[in-house]
């Protein structure tokens, strides 16, 4: 593992991910508060953040627990919201291929929305696998540590921030900050528009299936747009 580690790139990853903490801290706190509200002990609430390490899955699990949903329904719902992670896994796969098994297993553990979206561009633009992997690990490690601290803060301090502040809105705002630099060409704009329309129209789908379905529509639109562009050129 040491052979691949690039300290400079690791620290760069930590630094570039730091603005996202504005969104991660309240989100992690909400997960801590939610787990306690669902009846989890403080240790279990923290274990949830360490073992699941997925805000979306944790929110779904605690909400359904509180609502008294059956065990299998909770696991299935969490699986559906985790389907997007499979897409990230596929998108990252070619770039992680040159790494050894330990690196791949470790990087998979810290694969999150933010780390993926903020890092994938670097993987595409640079061939330095060791530096890219270390950069990704730095981003993921910062998110992991702060996620645990935020959960702990939520467990200990509970609901210290009033709901009327609407602080949960920083989460979509963080994603807007990640999204805008990615909308650099016509095809990306088309993917954005089709996904947005599909997300609104499919919102009523059960088990939050709308997220993955809207995403698939957007990707299909992108593939079609690429094909049109290719045939015009050829």
């Amino acid at each position: 593992m040491r052979a691949h580690f690039n300290r400079t790139a690791f620290l760069e990853g930590v630094r570039d991910m730091s603005p996202m903490l504005i969104g991660i801290v309240p989100f992690g706190m909400v997960c801590g508060v939610g787990a306690i509200a669902a009846g989890a002990s403080p240790i279990a609430a923290l274990a949830m953040s360490m073992i699941m390490f997925s805000g979306a899955a944790q929110i779904v699990a605690t909400q359904l627990l509180t609502a008294g949903a059956p065990f299998a329904v909770i696991v299935l719902s969490c699986f559906v919201v985790s389907l997007r992670l499979m897409m990230y896994s596929a998108a990252m796969a070619p770039y992680l291929r040159p790494l050894d098994q330990r690196w791949r297993s470790l990087l998979a553990y810290v694969l999150t929305d933010q780390a993926f979206a903020r890092t994938i561009q670097r993987f595409r633009e640079s061939d330095d696998v060791a530096a890219n992997a270390s950069y990704f690990l730095g981003s993921g490690a910062l998110l992991w540590v702060v996620w645990q601290l935020a959960t702990l803060l939520g467990i200990l301090a509970g609901q210290i921030v009033p709901a009327s502040w609407g602080l949960e809105f920083v989460v979509p705002l963080c994603f807007i900050a990640i999204l805008m630099p990615l909308l650099r060409d016509r095809v990306s704009l088309q993917v954005f528009i089709v996904t947005a329309i599909a997300a609104v129209m499919l919102d009523a789908m059960p088990l939050r299936l709308s997220m993955i379905c809207a995403g698939l529509f957007g990707i299909a639109a992108g593939v079609l747009a690429d094909a049109r562009k290719g045939s015009r050129r050829g």
Partner: protein, 121 residues
């Protein structure tokens, strides 16, 4: 079943599925090449999935209640934040500016949201 036991079982069951999802294709394509058409299609994953995640939390004021006008404070705040992010990235590139733009984007969105809530009540 005991509540704490249920919760612990749930943590491990969901933890296993999320890790399996994360590891799935990284493991699958570790030993074989990815078909080029799939690699091309996957280039659209970041834009598509981020959009799919954020749009419902912006366009709906409460579950099932779509509101696409200026009365939706979250929509206005998101548009302003998007404008700030767009302006920031077209002004300059480079790590420093990218980080500052992200902070400005989030700050602009929250300030607009709070102003609208305060002004409209």
């Amino acid at each position: 079943m005991d509540r704490q036991l249920t919760i612990w079982l749930l943590i491990f069951a969901v933890g296993a599925t999320t890790y399996a999802a994360r590891m799935s294709f990284i493991a699958f394509f570790a030993r074989r090449a990815m078909p080029p058409w799939l690699a091309e299609a996957l280039k659209h994953v970041p834009v598509a999935m981020i959009t799919a995640i954020i749009v419902p939390s912006i366009a709906f004021v409460s579950p099932g209640a779509l509101q696409l006008d200026a009365g939706n404070a979250k929509l206005v705040a998101a548009l302003v934040a998007g404008g700030v992010a767009w302006w920031g990235q077209s002004t300059a590139a480079g790590g420093m500016i990218v980080r500052q733009t992200a902070v400005l984007t989030i700050a602009a969105g929250m300030i607009v949201l709070w102003l609208l809530k305060y002004l409209v009540g």
